[in-house]
Amino acid sequence: MRRISAPVRENWKKRVEDIGFGFHTINGTYWDESAYYSFTNEQIEVLESTTSELFDRCLDAVQYVIDNQLYHLFKIAPRFIPLIEKSWNEEHPSIYARFDLVYDGVHPPKMLEFNADTPTSLYEASAVQWYWLEDVEPGADQFNSIHEKLTDYWRHLKSYLNEGKLYFTCLNDNQEDLTTVEYLRDCAIQAGLDTGFIYLEDLGWNSLSNQFVDIEERPITNIFKLYPWEWLIRDEFGGNILLDRSNTLWIEPAWKMVLSNKAILPILWQLFPNHPNLLASYFDNSNLKYDYVKKPILSREGENVSIVKNGSLIASTEGNYGSEGFIFQEYCPLPQFKGNYPVIGSWVIGCEPAGIGIRETNTLITDNLSRFIPHVISKY
């Protein structure tokens, strides 16, 4: 695994905008092609098999949480437990998820966390870095079959859907979220699904028929939402999900409430202690006295994270999370490449590893200012 500096394409902004990528610059550079990471085939195989292994273990962990009714550790409101269990027992499908991994090309990858419910940076990983590769090194290879797998998986999911359109929704006024959702919808359309879009704020609730409705007040029976479950059930309409006469199929499914919560990390460690791809994690720091990372069980974009080394706080971020509690994870420093710290985002589409996207920072904690760096598989 190497970080290689590279000249940016002279017309790079136009090139990425031409393919529908509008948020290449967010508070500075977001899409950064001034460097790329190069992997060997063997390293890619390691990332692929690790992702597959971790996904299987995560599914084991969900079953364990359900079997042992451990929802209190996740601070999940009891009235939503039947919804979670129904979605799990009926195998409501998941379309995508992303593991964040520490990997230096030498040691086994370690799972930092699992973005199981609302992962973003999908379009960058699937299409933008692919077009970059076509421009700068045509004929070269990349760990990236995200696009085909998304299309194939939507096609596969046809039989799981209820009658009616598959709607897609996200928050209004956010370019990044809209791009992610529209890209997913693009893939669904190519898979032959009948789709619609509605902003989350426009979703209607018909209190006469007890159904969610679209703009024309037609019942919604299938919906992909780019909005976290913990927010969904907290909102005013959250309780209506339990009353919904249409039994709307929500994608991602409600069982992702378990996997997207960082309380899953201590559960995984308890189930699979010393697993080579897991970091020791606990609900308190008594086992990790001097070196640990403290993370809120519910948080986004690296907010409210603290790193303690040798008993001293060496890095921390601010934010609005933490009221539900924290977990403590063994500190595993990110590899450093000339002052840059990459995190590997390894995508799962359906149940299969599908590719990677790399986020890079100059700090120890990957936050919303991190850059997206493309990658290649080296020929040598």
Partner: protein, 100 residues
């Protein structure tokens, strides 16, 4: 080995990147909801499946006469006279950005 050639066949172009904020505007009993909404919900060209040509256009597109049209949706039914038993706005209050 891991190549993703299909991407090239299906994602052809999206021109504009603006994400301007158009506030709802009532006219002729219709409520026009933002200009930068998603693609072919109502008045938008269909995807052309037959020729293998697809158009990824999350923010809008240039029409045949060169003018730019924000993607969006409008509906004669989504108005201030909508059914009394349908309420909206019950989702979306817990955050403004999802990124993770």
């Amino acid at each position: 080995m891991k190549k993703s050639k299909a991407v090239k066949l299906v994602l052809v172009a999206s021109i504009a990147i603006s994400c301007s904020d158009h506030h709802p505007d009532k006219s002729d009993n219709r409520l026009y909801v933002r200009g930068d909404s998603a693609s072919n919900y109502t008045s938008h060209p269909s995807y052309w499946h037959g020729g293998g040509y697809f158009w990824f256009h999350p923010y809008g597109y240039y029409s045949w006469n060169g003018g730019y049209r924000h993607s969006g949706y409008e509906s004669p039914h989504f108005s201030s006279r909508a059914s009394a038993h349908v309420s909206r706005g019950g989702f979306g209050s817990s955050g403004f950005r999802v990124g993770s």
